[in-house]
Symmetry: C2
Subunit: 225 residues, 2 copies
């Protein structure tokens, strides 16, 4: 059952403490609002040491991205390697391990950085989608990669907009109750197609019609906002 991924060995070093503090500050306050001084205070070191180890604020951010990326890959590999895929408790543990980074991840994605992380998630999602395609009666008319990217963005919309969802639900999205409620809502949404095949055919026809000569610069319909 593999070791639940605890903190890295030798993760008591000042460098690691700074990186962890940066992940928290960047996540909670955003990159611009977070300060090296604040990060240093949280890490229990002097501001100068931050520069000594990472060179600049931007480089510190990149080190955070890199570390997070390593975490994600490690978790994904472990889940993949685990033969008992339905092991719920393990998935739970993996998600719990990700929890401290959710805020940072959400902010990184939202401000356009963390590109490689989004791409990695898209890649994972693509494998998943491509695996399901052969079972479909109708051949998809959009590459799996693109469908994966769109779906990844939608799925990530949930943690990115977590405060709004929590407000609507009345409970914190990351609390056990909130998680349960969110899961139920997702099961409901995922199991009811938003468009019937007829709707889809009609929409596709409309898009095909517009795909011919049309005045550029005008939008069409669908894809909500």
């Amino acid at each position: 059952m593999a070791t639940p991924p605890g903190p890295d060995p030798e993760d008591l070093t000042a460098r690691a403490r700074i990186r962890d503090a940066a992940l928290r500050h960047f996540g909670e306050d955003g990159f611009e609002k977070a300060t090296i001084r604040g990060i240093a205070r949280t890490a229990g070191v002097s501001p100068g040491l931050v520069r000594h180890h990472f060179g600049s604020k931007q480089a510190l951010r990149e080190a955070c991205d890199e570390h997070l990326m390593k975490m994600i890959r490690r978790l994904n590999d472990q889940v993949r390697a685990d033969t008992t895929l339905s092991d719920v408790s393990y998935v739970g543990a993996a998600r719990a391990a990700m929890a401290p980074y959710q805020l940072y991840l959400a902010r990184s994605l939202a401000d356009g950085s963390a590109a490689s992380i989004f791409d990695e998630m898209t890649r994972i999602c693509e494998e998943w989608i491509a695996g399901a395609d052969p079972g479909r009666p109708d051949p998809p008319d959009v590459p799996a990669r693109i469908r994966a990217a769109v779906f990844t963005a939608m799925a990530l919309g949930i943690p990115v907009l977590a405060p709004h969802i929590s407000r609507a639900m009345g409970v914190d999205m990351f609390s056990p109750e909130g998680d349960l409620l969110l899961s139920r809502a997702l099961v409901d949404l995922y199991s009811h197609p938003l468009m019937t095949p007829e709707d889809a055919a009609r929409a596709r026809a409309g898009l095909d019609r517009l795909a011919g000569a049309r005045p550029p610069g005008r939008r069409t319909e669908e894809n909500s906002p």
Copy 2:
């Protein structure tokens, strides 16, 4: 067919120019990174005038929120009032009117502000969902409001994470080609449920099982990231 909502009357005032410049700067650079001086330069006024009209940077942001909200409501009302709901060109015009605000909206939502805008969108989405509920064979076990909030977050994930989607597609999401491709991907995703009814039932059962006594603080499964 109502008048296509052009700029407000008397929108040549310095106050309006400042507001528009702020919407652009906040959208492109983010609230923290944007500067009053830069906004003033774009608006062609002195930085002092910004303060004279709006009092503070934060108040300027709130004025932007208010203005955007007014726009959204106006557009929604016009679409509602229009009897020929399938008037594609009109929807296109409305979306084009929103285009300049998309970046601002995305950033506002992502940093937790713009709560009332998210709530308004959730409300609109809820009406839409609640209207479709009676036709369902199975009764939903989650309030429409909450399903609406979750779906709204997912839908908004697309503009919020637009740079990533554009990168994956290889074309700008807001270009005509990108819009077409995105629309096709959405039609595909929306018309294929991600879970079969059996999957859903199994997932619901799993959630019910976990809803009993369970160690708090641990997450469960599903709801992707």
